[in-house]
């Protein structure tokens, strides 16, 4: 239970979650002016949902409840949700995607907000990298006992 590999798994899960968040942020920034999307209408801002789950080696342990409830929780991305805010309407009657009144629907994405989120995600990623390095450092130095 209190071994270093648990710590590495948890930090790894943190890094993976932040990486997925970065993916959604990049997707939002890239599609800031996209008026067409596969699900119809303009592109909708995507966001990740984090959830803390107990850290167990295989999923079957949670289901069968044979192992005791773990004290450590790793983070998992459980869902990627689309924003439900209304798109921004701009008056451009010559645009091929204009609706009958001449308005084009643009995604409601705020670039400043996305940049802030990006900085936050990269800061969290670096924090997880530091934690993983500290774990590895401690684990390797315990090999030195008796050397």
């Amino acid at each position: 239970m209190a071994d270093f590999f648990t710590g590495m798994r948890i930090s790894g899960s943190g890094m993976a979650a932040q990486r997925m968040r970065m993916n959604t942020i990049s997707s939002n920034i890239a599609n800031i002016n996209t008026t067409q999307s596969p699900e119809g209408g303009p592109y909708r801002r995507k966001d990740v949902v984090f959830e803390a789950m107990p850290d167990v080696k295989n999923f079957g342990d949670i289901v069968s409840a044979t192992s005791p409830k773990s004290d450590f929780q790793r983070v998992q991305v459980t869902d990627i949700i689309s924003d439900r805010k209304a798109p921004i309407l701009k008056y451009e009657p010559d645009h091929p995607d204009a609706n009958p009144e001449g308005y084009v629907a643009y995604p409601n994405i705020n670039l400043m907000e996305e940049m802030t989120n990006m900085i936050q995600a990269s800061r969290s990623y670096e924090a997880n990298v530091s934690a993983m390095q500290a774990t590895k450092d401690m684990a390797l130095s315990s090999l030195e006992i008796g050397r």
Partner: protein, 134 residues
């Protein structure tokens, strides 16, 4: 022969295990720094450890026969206390993790872990030197 490894070595070895536990909990806090509704956790073992090794010598009982149980023996019975840190400020999504505090706690824990390791090393080396020379 059981006095070959004294209670300091036991205390240091137990503190190693406890610091590993604290490291894992802190790493979990860092990983969940943005999970909504997650509360930062904390590990306390110092009090339990100092009681188990009978630090002040106040509760020691000397034994005169093999059947007596002495206090201050193997510290395997130290039970750490894992609980939610009450000092965290709650963000608007219910998360109470303070990332800087967790990172500095991580560094401090790593340094104390390594120093405990070095002290154990020194004691073992001194023992080996004393028995191996001549």
């Amino acid at each position: 022969m059981s006095n070959l490894f004294d209670k300091t070595t036991n205390a240091l070895a137990t503190s190693l295990a406890m610091r590993q536990l604290r490291h894992n909990v802190t790493a979990a806090n860092v990983a969940n720094a943005e999970t909504p509704g997650y509360h930062a956790k904390k590990v306390d073992f110092e009090e339990a450890l100092s009681r188990a090794i009978d630090l002040d010598g106040l509760r020691g009982m000397s034994t005169s026969s093999n059947e007596h149980i002495s206090v201050g023996g193997p510290s395997a019975a130290v039970r750490p206390d894992i609980y939610e840190n009450p000092e965290g400020a709650i963000n608007n999504d219910g998360n109470t993790v303070d990332l800087e505090k967790e990172m500095s706690a991580l560094s401090e824990n790593a340094i104390l872990y390594k120093s405990a390791l070095q002290l154990i090393n020194k004691k073992m080396a001194a023992l080996k030197y004393a028995i191996g020379d001549r």
